[in-house]
Amino acid sequence: MNAESAIDLPAPVTRARTGTPLPAGIGTRDPAWARRLLIGLALAFIGLMLVLPLVAVFVEALHDGVGKYLSSIANPDAWSAIRLTLIVAAIAVPLNLVFGLCAAWSIAKFEFRGKSLLITFIDLPFSVSPVISGLIYVLLYGAHGWFGPFLAEHGIKIIFTVTGLVLATIFVTFPFIARELIPLMQEQGTEEEEAAISLGAGGLQTFFRVTLPNVAWGLLYGVLLCNARAMGEFGAVSVVSGHIRGQTNTMPLHVEILYNEYDFVGAFAVASLLALLALVTLVGKSILEWRIGRRLARGGH
């Protein structure tokens, strides 16, 4: 009965561990030609599949010069898309953060039945297609949904509004922070918290002074990944947004509209901002992994 019985999705969970290979004997050495061939293949594949598309985004965005690029970004519709993306993330990420902390506290620090089932449920959104993630809210709150008529009577609209975007975004980013915190807090055990309580600390004091400092980097890691997905989500928000320009268009949706209107420079200009966000996320992720890895190495065996 622990978190290990849940599936480990590599996306937010498994940290890359780079470092110098262990010193090992001759039996582990590959012939030089094989080494060169494999490094060549790996670099070619990464270059072709990952680097080239990234480069293409910026090249296409600057296709007609810097002036056109800047004016594409300064476009009012683009601005409203940027604003909306920030708003959605600013609501969805903190909500999932609070949930992640609550879920991690109850799951990591207590033993109770049904824990592994609960963890499986928390992981569910990872295994649901983004389109289905949007669809479920339409089925619930849309004009023909379960609560649709009731909501319509009271003048509440969810689908095709910011509320719908936020809901769909919360769903797709739901597991990120909890998934990062649970194993980390389990690893820490409960002894420090028990010591704090025995010394007279209150529950919140214990949490903020003992638990949180121990998991701070992991928490930041979860927030970073959660935010990247929240700002970049396309499929789920596409289904619930209604694509109302200037109102319910997030950046990824705006990219789609511009692209379909053959405004390639405009589409790639907005896309380049999202690509920058991705690069910043990757850099942040590497730094955090380095920090977390170092901390684990120090605290571990």
Binding site: P10, R35, L41, F112, F207, A271
Partner: protein, 282 residues
């Protein structure tokens, strides 16, 4: 353990269990469980017959076949290249290794729509790569081949990130042992290393496949979206939704959901297997 078997929670001096678990359950129910229940119940209004008809319509079958087929091909290709990338990152030193290692996660971080338009512009007949392939008579963008390319892109990190840590944890002494017993490097890889990383490789394959089946954003730009030819299942859901065929959309979604739960089950079993595998011997 025996005491815990009779009560549902082991006593603890730490506070806040009721509040945090309660909040977690309520939030989980509102955001995840209730909407998913709505989805599972929705096709009921079609009746069993109607449901069957909805999911066996030729256009639906074609889209499911395409989604699963392209995903399987992409996952297999990722399996091969993902293993190479993981191997190179785990075993060799080379310039810019840290950058390459960080770049592997790009498909996780890059919004799918951005990936979609970038790949399309590359592989379109007038794009950097498309223009090279066009004289050879190979069309990538707006064909199922394009779908496979997009699915390779989004699935790559799954294989690398499941295999890489296992490779790093491998006991190198075992390879020395095999070599001292006379194994060639290739025999060493085939008979000693590959069996050790096989469960992880399969898990990575399954994860990449599961992700690819549901993928939408990176595919729709490059796919061409021709019904019966290059229309993936998630797109068909959106199309049905736009035609207000909620039940029909839900029916396809239910089929995909069941498929992904089966995948989840398989992945779980695989991981349990590989954990047992790792515990063996020391």
């Amino acid at each position: 353990m025996t005491a815990a078997a009779y009560t549902w929670k082991r006593p603890s001096v730490l506070p806040g269990f009721g509040l945090t678990l309660g909040y977690s359950l309520v939030y989980l129910s509102i955001i995840v469980l209730l909407p998913l229940a709505a989805l599972l119940l929705r096709p009921a209004e079609l009746g069993l017959d109607g449901f069957w008809k909805a999911v066996t319509a030729p256009r639906v079958i074609a889209s499911l076949k395409l989604s699963f087929g392209a995903s399987a091909i992409a996952a297999l290709i990722n399996c091969a290249f993902g293993l190479i990338v993981a191997w190179v990152l785990a075993r060799y030193q080379f310039p810019l290794k840290r950058v390459v290692d960080a770049l592997v996660d790009l498909p996780f971080a890059l919004p799918t729509a951005v990936a979609g338009i970038a790949l399309t512009s590359l592989y379109a007949p007038n794009g950097w790569i498309g223009s090279l392939l066009a004289p050879l008579g190979i069309k990538v963008a707006f064909t199922p081949l394009g779908i496979v390319i997009a699915l390779i892109f989004i699935g790559l990190p799954f294989v690398v990130r499941t295999v890489q840590p296992v490779l790093l944890d491998l006991d190198r002494e075992v390879e020395d042992a095999a070599a001292s017993l006379g194994a060639t490097r290739w025999q060493n890889f085939r008979l000693v290393i590959l069996p050790s990383i096989f469960p992880a490789l399969l898990t990575g394959l399954a994860l990449a496949f599961a992700r690819a089946v549901g993928e939408y954003g990176s595919v729709i730009f490059i796919a061409g979206n021709m019904p019966m030819k290059s229309e993936i299942a998630p797109l068909l859901i959106v199309t049905k939704l736009e035609q207000y065929d909620y039940a029909g959309a839900a029916a396809i979604a239910v089929v995909m959901l069941i498929a992904s739960f089966l995948m989840l089950l398989v992945i779980n079993l695989l991981q349990r297997w590989s954990r047992r595998h790792e515990e063996r011997g020391a």
